[in-house]
Symmetry: C2
Subunit: 260 residues, 2 copies
């Protein structure tokens, strides 16, 4: 099941008329991600750029910290295995540590966000800043790139951008997967994230903010809404969260100091 | 963290103007679902109707089959525990069985959908049918009910409907949670599902179709797109999948025989 889009037979009904037609539909497939011998997760995703997705998932869930930890990557249609250096140890901040320490099936790392000590965790660079015009220009580029969405209305987009434009762009039926694909590609290509920001088409929920923290990005921009928990996490973690970038305006929910 | 919506301070930026304002934001909180002594899942959700969410999750992931299996339910702010009758055994079709049999962290049940024998699994009633006008009228009611979405643009809606209108309606920041809340409420209230259908605001992915199968519903209607895997599953399972219900038209991706 490769490819982003496939054609399916469908029946279009409009008032009393019925018409058989071929419809483009966003493809969905299952991907198993392994870290060495350990199966980490089974994801439902757009079957495209699975290597980026797997690496990005491992970064943004705290399993990987740098490209240097990766020794080899084996990608097949429904499985990606990332092999690490023999000195690698699963970090204490990973989801799996949470699962292993509190029993099978338990524990998502965001479960404890409400208890975070804000000062301890605000490690993110406050030097980075963006102008509102830069954000509007990047969002305009971003919307032009969302081709798969225009074809099928069934996917989310994410991009890594610098001040003057988009560097990496990807799409997936999963809101988180689109972000992970961008983070995975940036790691594998050695792109530094300190002077970049993340653009997403979907809602900013707590798990998106959590992915930013692990990756070292300081700013996320969306054309739609955040959740309350995402706003509180961004406030505690020193992340700038910009929502509702539409027309000539936007709403900044945390650390507006970076938007100058 | 109770309630669907909270007020957060934010900065609205429009061209050169900055304005401090109070913004309504969809709340998000963590919910732990227990079945007897066993923690089943940690969800991020809209903290409202958590009992319905927990029961619906347990039904639609195959842990519960009927109201009679439930002995007692204990709901606190961040935790719901469903206690079952002593004769209860975790069904082989549940997600947890998949996890236990194939190792910790492994296995989502949809991983094996591609290999399903269609004839064996098409158990769903073909007597149920709807007219296009009934679907359009219910979708019109559905969109009027989506209040939280109108306030915050941050949530998904789901409804249980009969031919002439909506019976149950709920909203959640999670697309699946909105469906589970409706399924949980219908089980607890003893509402039969054979002559009802499901209406959702978001995309129809494979896991939504999987929830239908477990609940016994035969038809799902959405104002937006399905994924390819969802279409294939619906075709195999005998489920009618209707997408893009907009204006006076709709697209039927599987079993159009039910739309007369």
């Amino acid at each position: 099941m490769k490819g982003k889009v496939k054609i399916y037979n469908a029946t279009r009904i409009e008032k009393d008329k019925r018409k058989e037609l071929s419809e483009k539909v966003a493809e969905e497939a299952v991907l198993r991600i392994f870290l060495n011998e350990q199966e980490i997760v089974v994801l439902s995703c757009t079957p495209y750029d699975q290597t980026y997705l797997a690496v990005g998932f491992l970064i943004s869930d705290g399993f990987l910290k740098s490209k240097e930890e990766i020794r080899n990557i084996n990608t097949s249609e429904d499985r990606v295995t990332v092999y690490t250096d023999s000195s690698y140890k699963i970090p204490e901040t990973s989801q799996l540590q949470g699962i292993l320490t509190s029993g099978c099936g338990k524990g998502k790392s965001f479960a404890n966000w409400e208890e975070i000590d804000p000062l301890e965790d605000v490690l993110i660079d406050l030097d980075f800043s963006l102008s509102p015009d830069q954000i509007l220009e990047v969002m305009s580029q971003f919307e032009k790139r969302s081709e798969l969405f225009r074809e099928t209305a069934g996917v989310h987009s994410a991009a890594l951008a610098k001040k003057d434009g988009i560097i990496l762009f990807n799409e997936d039926i999963g809101r988180h997967n689109a972000v992970d694909k961008v983070l995975g590609e940036s790691l594998l290509k050695g792109i530094k994230l300190k002077d970049k920001f993340l653009v997403i088409s979907g809602r900013v929920s707590s798990d998106i903010v959590s992915k930013l923290k692990h990756s070292g990005l300081s700013t996320v921009v969306s054309r739609t809404a955040p959740t309350g928990l995402a706003v509180r996490m961004a406030q505690k973690l020193g992340i700038t969260l910009v929502g509702f970038v539409r027309g000539s305006r936007m709403t900044v929910y945390s650390f507006p100091v970076r938007i100058q």
